[in-house]
Each structure stands twice: as structure tokens, then as C-alpha cells.
Symmetry: C2
Subunit: 227 residues, 2 copies
DNA sequence: GTCTATATGGCGATAGAC
DNA sequence: GTCTATCGCCATATAGAC
């Protein structure tokens, strides 16, 4: 009787309708509607990413967005729809950086670029990173099918690129998957654990020097180690 | 009016009373009481670490522990007390591994030991790791004072050890704090993101070979990099 | 589109019998 | 110590006026 968690019962994220997409008349009005929807989505992400789905109330989001509770329900028919739409939007951003992984043949450039892109994402979209983390920790009720499908395929594909580099002697032997996990964890850490990072260093990635130092430090360790 | 999040208003974790600690007669009865309390704590950790504070209901915990809701309230006067007690217990475990960091003079041994201990913790106490992660993501309302106090001091102390290694030429120049973050993130990743790890690799740290492979992979990258 | 009620249900916590 | 019953609050969502 799993009671808590989001009861999505097999809802496919990609199947989500944008709602109202069929209405056509009045392009101007339509744009205003979409803009406000977008604004609510961004506001809601900020709240959800801190308190989680259950810890967030519609009223909080409404207050942050300076609208009334009922008005929010005019734009999103339920709390779940709001949450799902956000998660769907995040996925693409989260996945984007790995796309350019086999474009370049030089592993050093490719991997250092990837590290930088992921770290930029942690800097520019820390809330998205945290929401994603919350989702995974809770067992990925919504994203599980995605993890087992698309993501798995992509990683297998990228792993082959890494293995080619190894067989060509361009990098040392290393488990490709473990290497990818290392990159993910080290870069996402600065978004997900930013409170801890800030408590200890007094800085976060919005600090330019700290960003560069962190980027180089991660790149250095992954390429040269410390020995 | 920050409404969500846990409304602890300055409650100091360390000030928590164990409740009933003053009652003396009947050592046998007392032990039974404590045992049951302990059992509830362990059960509750499992639930809290998946669904978070707000996503977890007392009823869920009670069901998991095979007791009634009311009976649970006999052992813990509120949901918050239950949660706080768990968090308090976790902290010590989480911190323990770093203690033996300056005992040994050889950096390779010390750091490889530390990585292994942290990874063992991710294997043996994944729920604790996830609850800790949830807490930090939400802004560490309860642990903030700890992060800024004890933890900061410990890290500064350990950083000096690392800097001594560097000045002695035993390891390459590296920002000590960044090195520690790298170790934390890479090892904790296998607990916090275990669902994702399992989706991609089909394994988790309870698999002996996978544990050893992961441990060596992390140790290798941190010491030798991939170049 | 936006507002003021209000319905509805769930959950933390308590009362009081045994 | 454990149970049954229940209180009271709060959060999601809807109805219906403007």
C-alpha cells in the first residue's frame, strides 16, 4: 500500500498535453496566456525544488507568483499537472550537455567541455538539478521509465565513444560508466549541496573565480589525479 | 511567511531530550521500551529517507513497524521529535569516517581508506545518506548551524593535513576543500542516486564485485586521473 | 480571467476505555 | 501499553458571481 509519493499510476511524461493547445482564435491572448503559464512554471520550480512535491503548497507558489490560489488553478488544473510539466521541461536541459560528446575526437577537449557544461548547468539551473535529485532519491516514480529507456541507451552509446578512446590509447583504461558517474556527481554536487558548499567555503558557483577554480579542479583531478 | 519546511524555529538538535530518561524503576521494562523505540526509529528512517518529512505520514511508519498510529505516539510525542531524533543519530555516522584522516602519514593510504569508508557507508546506510541529502537540498533548516560550526571546523583542520602533504611534495597541488568535495560527491552518489545507477548498470553496491570495481575506479581516478 | 466562498478529504494528535 | 473513536486543522480543488 505505497501511499505517499506522487500517485502517477503510469502517466507517461511525454504524453502530457499542453492543455488548451487546441484553442486557436486570438494569437495575442494566447501568447499572454502562455507567458503567464511560463512565469508560474518558473516560480513553481523554485518552490518545488526546495520543499519537494509534498512540502510545497499551492498557496506558497501562488504567493510567490503574486496570484491567487484559484487563479493558479485556472492555468493548471492540478498540482500534479504543474509538477509534471516542470519535470518534463527540466529533462531536456539536464540531458542536453551530453549530446556533443562524440562530435570531437580529442577526449581531453570533449570531456573537459562536458564537465564545464555540466558545471554551468549547476550554476544556471541549480533548482532544476535539485528537483531532479529529489525525484531520483524518492525512487524516480515518474522518471523511472525514462532512466531505464532513453537514458540507458544514451549512456551505452557514449560509453562506446569512451571505449574507443581507451582502445586507441588516448586515455587510460577506465570503466566508462563509472567515469560518467564521476563527472555527474562532482558537477551536480555544487548545485544539490550548495548550502553545504557555501557553509564551508563561503562561496557558490555564481562567484566567477570560484566557478573557474572549481571547474579546473574537477578537470584536473579527472585527468591527472593527485598522485 | 515561509510555511513549508520543518518549523523548528531554532530547536537545537543536541538539546533533544531522550524522553523518559528520568524514569528509573524496572530496568527490564526500560530496555524493552528503548528497544521498541529503536526499532521505530529504524523503520521511520526507511520511510522518511524515501518520501521526505512532508511526504511521509505517521500511518505509513506505523504500518511499516506493525504498530498502530496511537501506539507510535506513545513512543514519540510528535512527528517532529521522531524526525529530529533520526537526524541526530545519522550525523555521527556520517561524520565518523573522516576522523581517521590524519592518523596515517601516507596520503595514499589515508585517502584511499577514506574513500572506502565513505563508500561502505553508502552501501550500508544508503537511507541515512539520502535523508541527509534531502535535508541539505531543502536548505538544511535543521543542520545549518552544524554545517557552519562543527563541520566547517573539521574540514579546515583536515585541509591543513592535505596542505602539509602538498608542501611535502607527497601529492600534487590541489585545493583541499575541492578534493574533499570530490570524495564526498563521488561516494555518496551511489547511495543518493542508486536508482539511477541501478537503471544504467543493473547493479548497486550490495553487489560485491560492483562495490570493489566502484571503489577502485574512484580511487584510481582521484589518484591517477585518466590522462 | 479573477475573485469569494465552500466542499472534501487527509493527517497529526488527543481522549479515554481496557 | 495498546486500542477505538474522534477532534481540528490545513491543503487541494470546485462552484459560481463579477
Amino acid at each position: 500500500m505505497a501511499k505517499a509519493g506522487i500517485s502517477l499510476k503510469g502517466t507517461k511524461v511525454s504524453t502530457l498535453k499542453k492543455s488548451r493547445s487546441t484553442v486557436e482564435p486570438g494569437v495575442r491572448r494566447r501568447k499572454k496566456f502562455d507567458d503567464k503559464r511560463q512565469f508560474i512554471l518558473e516560480t513553481a520550480l523554485a518552490v518545488f525544488s526546495q520543499y519537494g512535491f509534498h512540502g510545497t503548497t499551492i498557496e506558497q507558489i501562488a504567493n510567490s507568483a503574486d496570484i491567487s490560489k484559484t487563479n493558479l488553478f485556472y492555468y493548471f488544473k492540478s498540482k500534479e499537472e504543474l509538477y509534471l510539466t516542470i519535470l518534463e521541461n527540466i529533462l531536456n536541459d539536464w540531458l542536453a550537455p551530453i549530446a556533443g560528446f562524440d562530435e570531437v575526437d580529442d577526449p581531453k577537449t570533449a570531456i573537459e567541455n562536458y564537465i564545464r557544461l555540466k558545471l554551468e548547468l549547476s550554476r544556471d539551473q541549480p533548482q532544476a538539478s535539485r528537483l531532479f535529485c529529489l525525484e531520483i532519491i524518492q525512487g524516480a516514480p515518474i522518471l523511472k521509465s525514462y532512466l531505464n529507456g532513453d537514458l540507458k541507451n544514451i549512456i551505452e552509446e557514449k560509453s562506446k565513444v569512451i571505449e574507443r578512446w581507451i582502445s586507441q590509447g588516448k586515455i587510460k583504461p577506465v570503466d566508462p560508466t563509472q567515469l560518467i558517474f564521476t563527472i555527474w556527481s562532482t558537477t551536480q554536487h555544487y548545485a544539490d549541496f550548495s548550502v553545504q558548499v557555501k557553509a564551508i567555503t563561503g562561496k557558490d558557483l555564481t562567484n566567477k573565480k570560484f566557478f573557474e577554480d572549481t571547474c579546473q579542479s574537477i578537470q584536473n583531478i579527472i585527468f591527472n589525479g593527485i598522485a
